[in-house]
Amino acid sequence: MNRRKLLSLLGMSPALLAGSRAEAQKTRTGKSAAPEEPKYQALNPKGTPPPVKLVPMAPRLDTIHGKTVYLVDTGFMGGGTLLQQMQAWFNQNMPDVTVVFRKKAGPYMEDDPPLWKEIKEKGNAAIMAIGH
């Protein structure tokens, strides 16, 4: 499924999707009611989702050459091994990129503000591997 369709199913407003309409409001029964059948009004059982606060993405680098890139292992199985192979790829193919490997502290669902601070102070970009 493409991104536009996925976001449409999420029910995001047209303002975000540049004209796409939430599908949740359409009935999809495909059957037309016989005239004699009584109709009922039933409640929409869904809860109330919070609005989405859009976060502008950080400006991109003009080039990755000569920059410092952090590879962050979030702790899912295999993620660290994959990133170490990526580190080897950078060493072979872009040796002027400084690559720093870090394993995020704590279980995968916990935040790691000290690491984010370090990356922002010492790095130019980050690649995060999120399992499985």
Binding site: A33, K46, V55
Partner: protein, 436 residues
């Protein structure tokens, strides 16, 4: 972070990654994908992933990553502001058959027939509580997602759909107020359980006798089902690929493990009293974990004249992950015999089980949950994991991190002395009376 980043995720989680990024404000986040899975692959196999294409875009993975970090942002990617999320109109009008089909097709059900939440039925349900229909009950999320909120009326719709009677509604509201969803996004296919305590068990005719955990009483069946429907509808859980990733799924999710405690037949204080409530209070207590296994499979369960239930339970727990606790579900015959064998309090039994349910460090380290959840904590110095990871492989350590990992509830009809055990951890106890 304020610097460019490129999240890299395996292809199996494509929809989840895109949707979760959108829910958190980055609907156009530049996500790169690798083949699935990475777990269990050798370094050489993963090097093939790195050298190969992104399986979603078809472009070379490393080019995709470098582009994600360097290609200038589009106008959409720079957008800020607040956008609303629609779940459709407040009501739907159609014939009964068409509405059944509509609710099913839109993921509002558990794919079993429902009672349609008509205005009349919902109004009747609302008479089951003194709380106002528009009162906000709480928030619920089915994992690491932004939580959804809901009112008494919205809870009532799920209660009607599940087949609850209005007099059950305070229990459903108490569960809703906890914010605990019974469908969780993890790939582990979690199971959930609840213990019902207090006089309401008899007032509503819960079954805590023969077949206590089976489909033999309306409140046991429908209140458990309502929890799952609420998790889908109020917390937006249970959408495969989006808010639910359980690889195998869990049959217990249909109506969860609903345990009305057999308080009168138990030789020990009921569960809610252990948690600080008075015996006459009505309380629902919630658990989360991996599932329930029967005690008959354990060593020590032979029909000799002096069955060692303590040893039997300890053996049963040997395959459990200590990350979740152990919930002992004991038939009264088991509990009474344990008391006769010297365990005059639950605490004594728990102390024995904590001391005698052990494992070697080597076995501990080989466990999935130890690596995933406890090793990272050990690196941070959190106990007991930090100490455990420093011990030699042949050292013997407790199977569960602390005595509080164990919980005991008594239920069942005393037709035989069988326990069951859940690899389930205690979450929270909520007053039902507050929602009367």
């Amino acid at each position: 972070m304020g610097i460019p980043s490129a999240p890299m995720i395996t292809k199996a989680f494509k929809d989840l990654a895109i949707l979760n990024a959108a829910k958190r404000g980055m609907p156009h986040e530049r996500i790169c994908f690798t083949p699935h899975p990475v777990w269990g692959k050798t370094p050489d196999e993963l090097r093939v992933y790195v050298d190969g294409p992104d399986p979603v875009s078809g472009k070379p993975l490393m080019k995709e990553i470098v582009d994600a970090l360097t290609v200038p942002l589009s106008d959409d990617e720079k957008k800020s502001g607040i956008v609303s999320v629609s779940v459709g109109p407040p009501t739907f009008t159609d014939t009964a058959d068409n509405l059944q089909e509509f609710y099913l097709n839109n993921g509002y059900t558990d794919f079993l027939p429902i009672i349609l939440p008509t205005q009349e039925k919902v109004d009747a349900m609302l008479k089951g509580t003194g709380h106002k229909p528009d009162e906000v009950v709480g928030k619920m999320a089915a994992g690491a997602y932004p939580a959804w909120s809901y009112t008494v009326r919205q809870v009532a719709a799920s209660a009607v759909m599940a087949g609850c009677r209005p007099e059950y509604f305070p229990i459903v509201l108490a569960i809703a107020s906890s914010g605990v969803a019974s469908l969780f996004s993890s790939t582990n296919s979690f199971a959930f359980a609840m213990i019902i305590n207090g006089p309401i068990r008899d007032k509503l005719e819960f079954n805590y006798g023969i077949g206590a955990l089976g489909p033999f009483a309306q409140p046991n069946a429908t209140i458990g089902r309502a929890w799952t429907l609420m998790s889908k509808n109020l917390g937006n859980g249970g959408i495969p690929g989006d808010t639910y990733l359980g690889s195998l799924g869990n049959n217990l999710n249909y109506n969860n493990v609903v345990i009305a405690e057999n308080e009168d037949a138990s030789p020990w204080p009921p569960f809610h009293v252990q948690r600080g409530f008075k015996k006459e209070e009505n309380v629902v207590s919630l658990f989360r974990g991996l599932g329930v296994v029967p005690g008959q499979v354990a060593r020590g369960s032979s029909a000799n004249e002096n069955v060692q239930f303590d040893y039997q339970m300890s053996d049963l727990f040997s395959t459990f992950t200590g990350f979740f606790g152990a919930l002992i579900i004991a038939d009264p015959l088991v509990a009474i015999r344990l008391k006769e064998q010297g365990y005059d309090t639950k605490e004594k039994l728990i102390a024995w089980l904590y001391k005698n349910t052990t494992q070697t460090v080597k076995d501990y380290k080989s466990r999935n949950y130890a690596y995933l959840f406890e090793y990272p904590q050990a690196l941070q110095g959190r106990e007991p994991f930090a100490t455990w990871y420093k011990l030699p492989d042949d050292a013997v350590i407790p199977h569960f991190p602390r005595p509080e990992s164990f919980n005991i509830v008594v239920t069942g009809g005393q037709t035989n002395a069988y326990p069951q055990a859940g690899n389930l951890s205690y979450g929270v106890s909520v007053s039902i009376d507050k929602w009367m």
